[in-house]
Symmetry: C2
Subunit: 385 residues, 2 copies
């Protein structure tokens, strides 16, 4: 059976772009050498690895030697959080990678407003004299809300200036988990005003199990993994050459296509949203900040509907989407994001997370929308029968 | 220019076996789903992932759910060492991944004998009442010596029994870094008698940046990376499905071919060794335990020769080998392994590490041997000119 597949879950995983796989290919076979080996082909691979890091860094407005390559955004985030000893401010709607790492430390979680926005004022209120890190996501992985990082950066900058003035040498950094949004919105470290940034290859059509942590010069990291001294001693282990070559190509492609792709996704998303609103009127709840949202994100709730049941019924027609984020910590529990934005249990339980991306053509999303409408109506009839 | 390549550095890196890459291929594209997603194709991938872990575990005589998948042996080793708080015994000839992780803790490093063997008696002498971990490599990555892990395991077992007898509940575990040797010698956790074992895919013709830490049931790990709760909460981050599928296939192939491959490598290695001894007589020093050595390992020293210079001159004829291990920590410094076995500076500086593997045919190694002999003779003439 080869029914069409409607993949509406790009925030959970993305397939590798064939062009990315093509540039990786030689590094699996003839270019397999250890980049720390002394002979010429290995030295050449070392250079290609460093060059790829440079290209990768450029896509976020940084330099190659400011990156630490890790094995995933979760590791990058843990490394960033491990860099400080003092109090940490984060938000209650971060990914579990941030939440779990932060929870093992002295911390304050700031709550979002109903739209899922973390305000700079809320961060400011949470500041303590011993705060050393603020970690706020670039965009939420469930409801798509884009956070006002520039405003939060201004708060951090002002606190840093205050400390300098009073002769307090305690550092304070701003880290952002940028796992969601690259290729859809501008991700430039200077424009965002952050000191550290985690970015994941596996969510941007690059290979999985590769990520980076960018650190502004001057930020001192404390390694989680010790050994051969790779990545300037900050992350030991033989370099993942194929992975980084692929990550760089994926980032380059995503960066290049960002403007056209974000317009394309927004149009398809808005059309889908309009059809759903037309079909369900006041029964549908749209979540996330409607004005500051990832172009490919659409989060809807149909209170009374069983979202999980709906996900399984949609699957039978090849429509793949999620109720919440795909992560082991989320299974069988209500989304902490939806709770934090004040959703009732019925609203949360009737939620669908739709995240569009490269696999979303205008036609396929239109078809998927019809299928969703049909299945939701059937569910509603079943409930009222 | 396409001159033949004679790769004699399998301990540094191995190319992916084409059969391994073939089984990985679908997981880059159509099977890209996040294994934590709820829809059927993602659930199927979860199962395939768990099945691969099971196959992988079987090759070391273990069960799939006893493995924690990591992003490299360095991470596995760090995770193992992070599992205990107390005193650690290790050896002075471990890989830097072990040494650096151990050095950050209360520890004792046991010295090898001249053959590079870590004796069980030496471990016994280093035991303290607060020792919680003994970490000894399966085989040395530079000189190939295979360690008497069963004997060391007996020491650990006796200490454990003694503690039980006196009512001391402090645990003591034996970990081995088995990065070198899988596919050449028997690696079975029960027969080795270990409690934890680190194993690397990238050294056995599998994908790089994948490894495992096997833990005997009852060993309690403390995660280095927190987040979504993957790998039973012991190593969060979206699963590296393609990597594990490839690792399992690489391990299966290496396990299946081990007996014939080890005989093949030993014959080629012994022939090479004999030719070198015939050519240089008493001027050549053979290192490592000649009776308990990895079949593909041959470590020679030609005191007075500049090994680094020789490596570069051999490279011009396509012979790729190393002076020491390929790792950033080793660059420009003398090998800590050779120092530990009591080599003089002249002997260490005149060393070549030859590690054979799948790319070593009888013919290619014979040719490489002739090239090595020719270049060494030229160096000797140059020195005496």
């Amino acid at each position: 059976m080869s029914q069409p597949v409607y993949y509406l879950d790009h925030a959970a995983a993305t397939p590798i772009d064939e062009r990315v796989l093509a540039v990786m290919r030689p590094y699996f076979s003839e270019k397999f050498y250890n980049p720390s080996s002394p002979y010429a082909p290995a030295v050449a691979i070392r250079k290609e690895y460093e060059d790829a890091k440079h290209i990768l860094a450029q896509t976020i407005g940084a330099k190659g030697d400011e990156l630490v390559i890790t094995a995933g955004a979760t590791e990058s985030i843990n490394l960033a959080i491990h860099s400080v000893q003092g109090h940490i401010i984060s938000s209650s709607i971060e990914h579990h990678a941030v939440l779990k790492a932060v929870e093992s430390r002295e911390h304050t979680l700031v709550n979002p407003n109903k739209k899922g926005t973390i305000s700079a004022d809320a961060v400011k209120l949470a500041l303590r004299s011993d705060t050393e890190l603020v970690s706020v996501q670039l965009a939420n992985n469930e409801i798509g809300t884009i956070q006002p990082l520039r405003d939060i950066a201004a708060v951090v900058l002002a606190e840093r200036a205050r400390r300098v003035e009073v002769g307090d040498s305690r550092p304070i950094y701003l880290h952002t988990d940028a796992s969601q949004g690259f290729g859809q919105i501008d991700v430039n470290v200077a424009r965002l005003g952050v000191d550290m940034l985690s970015l994941n290859s596996g969510k941007m059509y690059g290979p999985k199990q590769v990520a980076l942590l960018w650190c502004k010069p001057g930020v001192r990291l404390s390694p989680l993994v010790l050994g051969g001294g790779q990545e300037r001693g900050l992350r030991s282990g033989t370099e993942n050459v194929a992975g980084v070559i692929g990550f760089a190509e994926a980032a380059r492609l995503a960066h290049k296509q960002r403007k056209s792709e974000s317009v394309r996704l927004m149009e398809i998303r808005d059309t889908m949203q309009k059809k759903l609103v037309d079909a369900f009127g006041e029964m549908i709840l749209l979540s996330g900040n409607q004005k500051k949202r990832l172009p490919g994100s659409l989060h809807i709730s149909l209170p009374g509907i069983d979202g999980e049941r709906l996900v399984f019924s949609l699957e039978s027609e090849g429509v793949f989407l999620a109720t919440g984020s795909a992560c082991a910590a989320n299974q069988g529990t209500r989304s902490h994001v939806l709770t934090a934005i004040g959703m009732s249990d019925a609203e949360a339980d009737g939620s669908l997370r739709i995240t569009l991306g490269k696999l979303s053509s205008e036609k396929s999303v239109a078809e998927a929308t019809e299928i969703i409408i049909r299945h939701v109506k059937k569910e509603m009839e079943r409930m009222h029968a």
